[in-house]
Subunit: 392 residues, 2 copies
Amino acid sequence: MENYTDLNPGKRILLGPGPSDVHPRVLKAMSTPLVGHLDPDFLEIMNETREMLKEVFQTRNELTIALSGTGSAGMEASLINLLEPDDKAVVCIAGLFAQRMADIVKRCGAEPIIVEAEWGNIIEPEKVRKVLQENKKIKLLAIVHAETSTGVRQPLEEISQLVKEVGALLVVDAVTSLAGIPVEPDQWQVDAIYSGSQKCLSCPPGLAPISFSENAMQSIAKRTTPIQSWYLDIGMLQSYWGKERFYHHTAPISMIYALREALRLVLEEGLEKRFQRHQLHSRALVAGLEAMGLEMVAPPQYRLPELNAVYIPEGIDDLTVRRALLHDYGIEIGGGLGKFKGKAWRIGLMGYSCSRSNVMLFLSALENILQQEGYSIAEHGILAAQEIYQQK
Amino acid sequence: MENYTDLNPGKRILLGPGPSDVHPRVLKAMSTPLVGHLDPDFLEIMNETREMLKEVFQTRNELTIALSGTGSAGMEASLINLLEPDDKAVVCIAGLFAQRMADIVKRCGAEPIIVEAEWGNIIEPEKVRKVLQENKKIKLLAIVHAETSTGVRQPLEEISQLVKEVGALLVVDAVTSLAGIPVEPDQWQVDAIYSGSQKCLSCPPGLAPISFSENAMQSIAKRTTPIQSWYLDIGMLQSYWGKERFYHHTAPISMIYALREALRLVLEEGLEKRFQRHQLHSRALVAGLEAMGLEMVAPPQYRLPELNAVYIPEGIDDLTVRRALLHDYGIEIGGGLGKFKGKAWRIGLMGYSCSRSNVMLFLSALENILQQEGYSIAEHGILAAQEIYQQK
């Protein structure tokens, strides 16, 4: 046997697109010795987790659970439970994660109808209206609320109205929005919504909070073909999390411990305060970046506070800067994905990572590195950020 | 907000069908602060995990990874990547978990051909031979190596030969066997094999170690239809875990920390010693149970040491006994599944749970409770168990 050393990863400040930093209380919860997954104590923990998830999702949906997979499993579960072969699904694409939705729709044997926008822009509701008028019998429309590849918030409320006018189902990716900006599935008549544990919930990755409306469940009940996945069959999962406790799979106990604690932290802070915190620190960060002369990707009114995408200044090498941030400061930020590879950075301020200390440290580090690389800053970013905090 | 208390589940000794008790070193690893999932330090941790998984699986298969889901996700991934609509798959069924395989085969649009045996028995190789002769163009045969619902080890080596004679692929469920009894996919020419983290590996549930042969990958390359799952598409997962590091999903970082530590513990002990330890403690347990007059479900030569299924004595109520074990001793054992509900108990001695102290405590607790319930034991179980340990 080769000699494998003790686990000893570097110390990091996670300011990328997720995972975000995890609160010590969550880490501690995860190290709690296990009980069985059908133990009365664990069933109570599942119940509490479900109740807290409902509060964080601001929903009354009975079927609100944590899937035993990452956010991508949530995406797949939402689509494959609702779609049957030959169904039509409108997919709104303005970034990488929405492209995946179209891929999954095809794997269901269903037909994706694409509404596109340039990366970094919103999906124009007018375009959606046109597509919904031109096509008959649309089963659902799928949209990414907060596109992690561009930092853009999509105009969900307007698009929801259009979807409901034609009687279609609405599927929403809230991976990067939940617990960072308002997410209100009941208000917005969302039929299936999912998130990931490692973004604004600041729990380690591995679970996908998910919620299905009554309407969605009725649609599933009318299926004439089987759901293609056993693992992600939402009816079976409901029986496992519900009163029946019908054994399905073995819940990832330690991850549920972690999620329960992360949800407690969210509710202790309060959703409204948490949203304000994300707004404040993002405003300071953006003020700092713009003062230095950098340009944000998303238009101000649709900018996500928890994921700040910014163009890399001309002449500056993406990897050199990110490596210096990681090696000299232990700071992780995200590179660009897809079309934005080498062209944009993605600076996450999610959950426990979203703090004044992190904003100030990051701006100071970035300024330093950019100057070393020969970039001449317009003004000092840290001073502009401080001004925001002083106004508060 | 309702007041949710600090996490405080009861203290347990996990002697059920999994999860098993988790070593303190694994719990500690899980509470390590996170790095990003594309961080150079994490990529190294993934590499090490993959290398250790290969050692534990005793395989050279390049595609050996940990799926971001539980053992059931491993089952689904193995079948859906290899099967296309209208393919024929022989499924050997002698327990609950094999039934699931047939369910998944159907959800692929493929045709399951069932070879059955009574629960608690082995699948007779002769029956398999007949089915393989009677049916042309069999794509694969799927079998559960260690059936968690019955405690029976299936005669994999003999069945493998028959499968290979007709040129079909072999899919093996090693959820309960890996790291508890010998599992040798290369030797046995297995094409897809999967396990769960929470059994004899003594890691929390949430990951599915999985390994595909070169032969399996060639078969996947020849597919004419897409793999129905994006999340479990093994080609994409290979690119994520492999040199390309092509972003797929966000790996469950803390769970990988845990698995790495659990694998280290397995390799430090050594596979051979670990198998012997499982044999020894199971022999002591069985000697104790039989001394008290109880009857084991599985025939001795096919009995799993890590999962000891025993018939509940007549006149004794299943739930009363299991509740007393849980409440008075903090011991969890498993009830019967499916046909064995109320008729058998499943006593797990897996990984870190498999120890002399646990065997002795359990036998003493069970003897006590059975006597309280009016059962008159033949002989003292603890004395019979002690004799086994003294022979050693």
